[in-house]
Symmetry: C2
Subunit: 482 residues, 2 copies
């Protein structure tokens, strides 16, 4: 039998209860996301039967022409039981209940949650939520959340006990060039829970890495079993927010999660080979790198830079985080010395001090190093693409007549060509390359690398943390598959 | 006598040796920065006497009409001694030597560095560098670096042993809304060193907080003395990158800095009341908050959010980092309950679950909390301004005819009005307010807050780290002034 999440994430048709044309209402804003990108058929339900946002509506679930693959519910909590019954009678088997006001609200809500689960069980309906934000699948444009999918599909699968981290983050994903395979908000986990999702994404071919945001796991034993089965094949990264008294209080009022002490979760993660991230930003940084980069076979890192300070910070962070920055052999140093400016540092970090020779920085040096030395991966700092030069020209355009800006176009071209060479080189080696930068995708060169699966991480420490996660996963995998 | 750095950072006239019209040359690119913003007079030196970038040039320093306040040197290292002699003869007393290839390059370079320092001493010239990037003062548009000043003047003073962190960061500063007072790159510290800079910024009225990037301190005893004198009055934050073997190796080849073990610097920072940042990104996050926010008088933090997950992460991080998230009194909870949606959480975090009532989130709730409770500071999550709604409309504009987008304009207006109310309220209280966000200044609401001295920090952990730094500084100040 197909996993219920397969249908929920790959529906051909969706009925939407709570549809509205009033843009001040959540029902309109969530429906708009579906209209924007969903490739299947949308059936809005509206009691008056009038058009909603340009779409033909149906007076009730019972008025639908037939059973749909997925029912999305966004109406007040007390209305949900009757709707689920109708769905059952119509033969609908999958639902997302976005509506909140259940077990996270205390005793009365708990009763209501029990009721909807009983109805679902009676009709063999499997549902996400309640009190969730639904699901996102960029492949087929499924998006039941408020925000807009802006990025291409990718290979990070997300399971979150907070809707925020699969919806308010969509813009951020696009900023860092993170492509996701699927994202699931589990809410109160009344029917489908985190373990079900983990099981599903563990087998999903599009998902190469799984990111979890956890406030409290309900079926700990099953979680252990499923996670242990996955981690030798796919990395799992997790943030746990319920480990302090304040975090636990917030979690219980948020998703009715009973959290446990931090140490217990720490142990759980270690035992199952889950990499723990310290923050949401780190979760997605690492998720980006683990879902796009090959294995780091050894922890010997080479740093290539045109700026000494960032180079020193990267070297220092590598060693702090358990990676090595070995001195390059004298032969390799000599070879590098022949093609770099005289004031360059050659040992590792390789620092071509203030040089904007991108062919050297992005292509020649990585190639020499990986071909000659036993290096596991490379961190590069120093790409300042077209944006910077344009800003510069902009800042003086009214002050100087006849500025020879044709050079600008040349430098832009030169920079992008070097990016192309790196991308081609990268596709032919099997080693991770990570960029560390102080600029985001507002610089076209950075956007271009991001779009070609070369991660660009903001700051030095964070770039190293990502390389470290690759090393952590390599150790987990070797240990698990022994 | 005026501090030499006062003239270097506030010159009325600058002579620039190494000027070029060829945009592929550093001499052109740095000079362009000056032309773009500097409010004083610029005298490019060029041996042919031809115009450079539209400016009249002078054949040599000796050809200048008179002594200038500041000489900027960007020519090959062996030419510098002769130029300094000419400067001395002309009566020039202040210089920035950007040229590299001195003590960071080993024995021969050391000799050359000694030579230029002797010449400087003979003529009473004080200089920054060599092997530095110079200085930035947004107040008068002084900028000897490659990149462009994009942000308004502010109150963070930066002293860096890496030019990168005052130049490649200028774009980043604008992204996070960080205004700087002055930024100084010290390079090899042959003449003016880090301690001189610290002394100067300690007394500079525009500088309210000082950020340091350190690879190795030359005059440790003096550093101790000066830092101890400053920290009771102004916070100092520092990153030290020389504490590991790899970091030390990178530091010595970068700025010829002799670094010491990490523990020694840790002790030095504790002893002097310097707050240690773990990364460059953290240095500037904290710098932004410490240079714009009032004192955090107690460590009781209130979290206000419309999203449960970020609320839980903020609460968890607060407690992890030694801040408290106290339950609000029942009276205050009742008062809040009367104006918030029924599914809200009231204890702290206050979570108005998915509500976009910005008047509530940004103004009414902070006001109630600060007026009724003994709370030191507030962290707010959940501002999604005009950008998000526009992206949404954009994503469906070709799919729906006659979409009532006038609501968009109304919601934008409503959001910006709530920001205005918060800004006014904030100006009348004396407590820190920090925003945590997953969006940057591409959202106009966030840019607007940034421009009005309300810091918006990316992510939850980082926002808490900044609040924690305010608390650290409060403890340092109380201890120091006892």
């Amino acid at each position: 039998m197909e996993h219920p999440l397969h249908t929920i994430l790959n529906p051909k048709s969706i009925a939407f209860v709570g549809a509205s044309s009033n843009l001040a209402k959540p029902g309109a804003l969530h429906l708009l996301s579906l209209i924007g990108t969903f490739k299947g058929k949308i059936y809005p339900i509206h009691p008056t039967g009038k058009q909603v946002l340009g779409l033909h509506t149906y007076k009730s679930i019972l008025h639908l022409p037939g059973p749909v693959d997925l029912l999305v519910i966004m109406v007040p909590n007390t209305m949900v039981p009757a709707l689920l019954k109708q769905a059952g009678e119509k033969g609908i088997k999958h639902a997302i209940i976005i509506t909140a006001g259940y077990s996270e609200m205390g005793k009365k809500g708990k009763g209501l949650e029990k009721e909807i689960n009983e109805i679902a069980n009676k009709y063999n309906i499997r549902f996400l939520g309640p009190n969730c934000i639904g699901a996102v699948n960029p492949e087929n444009g499924l998006n039941t959340t408020f925000f807009v999918i802006k990025n291409r599909p990718g290979h990070l699968g997300i399971i979150s006990q907070s809707g925020s981290f699969i919806t308010q983050t969509l813009h951020y994903f696009s900023n860092i060039g993170l492509g996701i395979s699927k994202a699931i908000s589990v809410g109160n986990q009344a029917n489908i829970d985190l373990v079900d999702c983990l099981e599903y994404l563990g087998k999903d071919p599009a998902t190469k890495t799984i990111a979890l945001y956890i406030e409290g796991i309900k079926r700990v034993r099953e979680f252990l079993k499923v996670a242990k089965r996955i981690t030798p094949k796919k990395p799992i990264i997790a943030v746990y927010a319920g480990g302090t008294e304040a975090g636990a209080r917030a979690s219980i009022s948020h998703t009715a999660s009973l959290s446990a002490k931090d140490e217990l979760y720490d142990g759980l993660f270690k035992q199952t080979g889950i990499i723990r991230a310290e923050s949401i930003i780190e979760l997605f940084d690492i998720g980006l790198v683990l879902s796009t980069q090959p294995t780091l076979n050894n922890n010997r890192i080479c740093i290539i830079t045109n700026s000494g300070g960032p180079g020193a910070c990267l070297a220092d962070q590598c060693e702090r985080q358990g990676l090595r920055v070995p001195k390059l052999s004298l032969e390799t140093q000599k070879c590098i010395g022949e093609i770099t400016p005289s004031i360059s540092a050659l040992k590792n970090p390789i620092d071509i001090t203030m040089s904007f020779d991108y062919d050297l920085l992005l292509y020649k040096l990585p190639k020499i190093v990986l071909e000659r030395e036993n290096i596991g991966g490379i961190i590069i700092y120093g790409l300042f693409g077209p944006m910077h030069m344009r800003e510069k020209i902009e800042s003086i355009k009214n002050k100087i007549d006849n500025l020879p800006t044709e050079l600008l176009a040349l430098m832009d071209k030169y920079c992008m060509q070097a990016c192309d060479k790196l991308i081609e080189f990268k596709n032919n080696i099997n080693k991770p390359i990570i960029f560390s930068s102080l600029t985001g995708p507002e610089d076209p060169a950075i956007k271009y690398l991001q779009d070609n699966n070369i991660p660009v991480i903001l700051g030095m420490k964070r770039a190293v943390t990502c390389m470290k996660a690759l090393w952590d996963y390599q150790k987990i995998k070797s240990y698990k598959t022994q």
